[in-house]
Amino acid sequence: MTLLPLISRRLLQLPGVLAGICVVTFMLLHLAPGDPARLLAGDRASAETIAAIRHQNGLDQPLWQQFITYVANLLAGDIGQSLRFQRPVSALIHQFMWPTLFLTGYVVLLAVPPTIMLAIASARRPGGVADQIIRVLGIAGLTIPVFWLAIMMSRFFGAGLGWFPVSGYGQGFFGHLHHLFLPALSTSIWLVPVLTQSLRAALIEKTTADFVTTARAQGAGEGEIFWRTILPNAVLPTLNLLGVMVAFLIGGTIIVETVYAVPGLGALMIGSLLGRDYYVVQGLTLTFALATVIITLVVDLLTAFIDPRVRL
């Protein structure tokens, strides 16, 4: 395929984006209120101790020098030390990353098949009975707050029926599947209606497209027209929306992770923010930004794979 030029072009854009991310994450720390040195030293530390700590951490240097040190450390893979845990931030993120990634993948797997089925059922007869029911259910799914749904489900399926554990991450692959089912389900219930509406609209639009008339005029059956012509043409906007959603989920599963006590990045973020553990917040911001960049890249490549016009 002729995807190589596109890939190289996109990779060339990366350094600029990454430089931007570096600047923003660096400024994040220095523009935030509070003094990390004071935090590190504790409430009762003397002025000398704070000055010593500040010197030790290089916080008394001019801003540009600190930035250069920061970038140099980044390039060496060092994104700082957690003030609270007294461990490297990278190790912390590495530890907390897997539950979140697992959860995100789980949500996508749970959300995509019903999305396709519901959108097809809806778009087959717009305004029909199936369409109306799916729309009402979708609005319900969108409007019920995720945290409420999560609490209710953990009460009902977890505490009441005892089918699923209500907290934690579990051991091994199937343990993860078992433990994360309720969190993934409650997130999916919110995600599916969003994606369904997008796919439904695109499907309805493409159903009346001229090239569909052509296919019909060439004697193609309705099933063939749907799967080979309408669906591929309609799927792109939803694919892009899914990309945005996944990027959002990686940083945004905070509520679900908190309710179900999943040791993921969201939980780590909350803890670090509350504890003013700035280096961890900074590292997490960097991680989220990188994840967004990578996911956008993947979605763009998938889009180009489906649609030849994007490959120019």
């Binding site: 001229d210 008339t213 052509t214 296919a215 005029a217 060439q218 193609a220 309705e222």
Partner: protein, 547 residues
Amino acid sequence: MTEEKNQPLLDVRELTVAFGHLAVVKGISFAVQPGEIIGIVGESGSGKSITCRALMGLLPGTANASGSVKLNGRQLLGLDEASWRSIRAPEMAMIFQNPASHLDPLKRIGQQIAEPMIRHQGIGRSEGQDRAVRLLEAVGIRDPELRARSYPHEFSGGMKQRAMIAAAIGCGPKLLIADEPTTALDVTVQARILTLLTKLNRERGLAIVLISHDLGVVADVCSRVVVMRHGEIVEQGKTDQIVNKPQHPYTKLLIDSQPGRRPAGAGSAGSAPARSPLLTIENLSVSFPGKRDLASGLRLKSAREFLALDGVNMQIAEGETVGIVGESGSGKSTLARAIIRQNGASGGAIRFDGQNVQALRGETLTRFCRSIQMVFQNPYDSLNPRMTVSEAIAEPIWRHGLADRRTAQRQADELLELVELPGILRDRKPRQLSGGQCQRVGLARALALKPQVLIADEITSALDVTTQAQILDLLTRLQRERALTLLYISHDLRVVSSFCQRVYVFKAGRIVESGPARQVLTKPRDPYTQELVESIGSLVPSPTLAL
């Protein structure tokens, strides 16, 4: 009439198509003999497109067709979907007006041509691919093997229509329904597609139903013509009979509206007046930056610039009517936009009354804007859908501070009268008007500022031929009464030469020929102009055809 003994290939009797209670096709009857090319002519809304959809069984679910449509003696109306599918492509095929939107953008051309054959003839994928390549060659695509691997967006408009034709004839149908197959294409491309269709008709015995709004096109290639209006057939018969001895008044109107048939109006005014030029264009070049991205920037390659206009020289005297002809992409609209300062020039100058237009600032600029006004191609898009007709016309008057809003409204009413629109339309919104009425509103709005120069950019190309004739008459009258200098841009050499005193022919951003309209039409010197003139579907059948 020996043909009547043979069974017609397609026999349509009393075909009626209705949406609810509204009949859009009202009991029409016609027949197509094997190997014949028959033309259906009519304006938009005459029901010709609905008729051909009904023939293919492609009507929307809300439409109801009754009557009889027989293909080789087999009744088609009332067939179930499966039977329809077995007929579409192997027995009859269809091509459409806009080839760009009728090809699937995600599939390779070869695959799209092969698909009907794979579906109906049970051949394999590679066999289908081979046949697709041969078909592409048959419809005149160069490098067919390479081109079969291309996607639709890599094809030009004419090539897309050729690919559509290749896909349609793949299964060897006896009948091809062509719904305005050349309307979206440039005239020279149009002529080539029509030649291809007649060649296929001759070589393969393919019967063709050619639907068009352009009687000139139909008269060129069809042996018989059906004229439709308001869902009814007003007249049908042999082509030369329809063209030379039309019986029905509507057919006569249609023929008289053909640009070539109109008495040369302003064009007869003869040589250009010897006054000093009002608008001078000196060596004008306009370029657009090529597709620029980071990668090419890093490779230190300057983005390739696209020269839309390349050293154009023109002189337009006061009161003159000057035509600009060329295909899409030839730079005509770029020139118009450069004159009204919407495109910056990369070289050369535009002088209006001796002043360089690009250098105007402040009050002189405002005055310049007032003295040059423009009317655009799409009558609906160029009007604000939320403004009523009189608001749209009055707006430039009060915006330029020529009058307060109340006086502007009164002047707008006078302008409505000037462009021959009834006063009851003044409170309508654009979507409640017909295309021709909208274009009159656009004209009135342009005239509101009492300009010296009026630029008309393809203002009639979205309109029916009879409406076009009316707008051109109006324009001629306005030009005479208001002493307008008119710059008329069109792809249609017939319109321009019947209407303008002088013509400039554009190709790829350059002027290839210029001169008095009659001379350019009758004695073209440049090969491209010659091709343009030859592409004109003339309504006057040549002697050989009439015999």
